[in-house]
């Protein structure tokens, strides 16, 4: 029970972080990506803050054998640079630049009934399922 609640709480804090930094607002995201226009560098500070905190957590992980509840630390081990990694990232980037939503903010904005997010989220799910049908 406490375990489930902590996962729920993690999701909740994640959403608060996205909201307070305004990554949930497409104008903020597109303004960050608009480096040749009226550039708003704010979101670099979001990434910076998150990376510093997470790097600290990884230091703790180094000194532990297993997580508090899970069986083991599931840290990706793949290292090969594949065409699908780069092509997939490029396709994702095009979609991100079109509407200013990546998956997390898309879900949070849809929960807040933001109109474009209500179109984005079902379509995001469809995109995931199309990939599954084609490649699994």
């Amino acid at each position: 029970m406490i375990r489930q609640l902590l996962v729920l709480f993690s999701g909740f804090v994640f959403a608060l972080g996205l909201g307070i930094s305004e990554m949930t607002r497409p104008e903020k995201v597109l303004g960050f990506l608009d480096i040749f226009g009226d550039w708003d560098p704010s979101l670099a500070f979001v990434m910076g803050g998150a990376i510093v905190v997470y790097a600290g957590a990884l230091q703790i992980v180094k000194h532990r054998n297993r997580p508090q509840f899970g069986k083991r630390f599931r840290i990706p081990t793949r290292s090969e640079i594949t065409p699908s990694l780069i092509i997939g990232a490029a396709i994702f980037g095009i979609g991100w630049g079109l509407a200013g939503f990546c998956p997390g903010p898309g879900i949070v904005a849809a929960a807040g009934l933001v109109t474009p997010a209500l179109f984005f989220l079902p379509s995001l799910i469809a995109g995931i399922l199309i990939h599954r049908w084609l490649f699994d």
Partner: protein, 150 residues
């Protein structure tokens, strides 16, 4: 067009980092939203709700609380003044969903969780999606005029 808000951005980033850190330290899981959403869409095998669904529940709860809080603090967390057409939003969703699965991650999985591990895959993926997104914003708003900023 939007104001530079480094303090709010840093506080938000720290919260995102803390949330991702909790998922790693408690569950040993990477907090990659595209992977979590994909995992939640897998068929249930009759066991209790998957952790992925629980995490997504937290995101939704956060979205509801942020929306309610907007009225009290006179700040916008979850709203947009841009006119992003349904067609644009649907095309974006398909590309983001398909692309993040093909590339094994999004802003959170590759960016927040991958860069601090110094994973070359994640660093290259992040540079690629940032560049593709910036190019898309330039093309759709400054060359053609159908993007949200134009």
């Amino acid at each position: 067009m939007t104001e530079f808000t480094p303090i709010a951005a840093t506080i938000g980033g720290i919260l995102i980092g803390l949330a991702a850190a909790m998922m790693m330290l408690f569950e040993g899981r990477i907090a990659g939203i595209s992977g979590i959403l994909s995992g939640a869409l897998k068929k249930s095998d009759g066991t209790p709700p998957a952790w992925q669904a629980t995490f997504l529940g937290g995101l939704v709860l956060g979205g509801i609380v942020l929306t309610a809080a907007q009225g009290f603090v006179e700040r916008d967390f979850v709203m947009t003044e841009l006119s992003i057409s349904p067609v644009l939003a649907i095309a974006a969703g398909l590309l983001v969903g398909f692309g993040t699965r093909l590339g094994n991650g999004c802003t959170s999985g590759h960016g927040v969780c991958g860069i601090p591990r110094l994973s070359m895959r994640s660093i290259l993926a992040t540079l690629t999606f940032m560049a593709a997104a910036a190019a898309t914003v330039y093309l759709t708003n400054h060359v053609f005029a159908f993007g949200g900023l134009s």
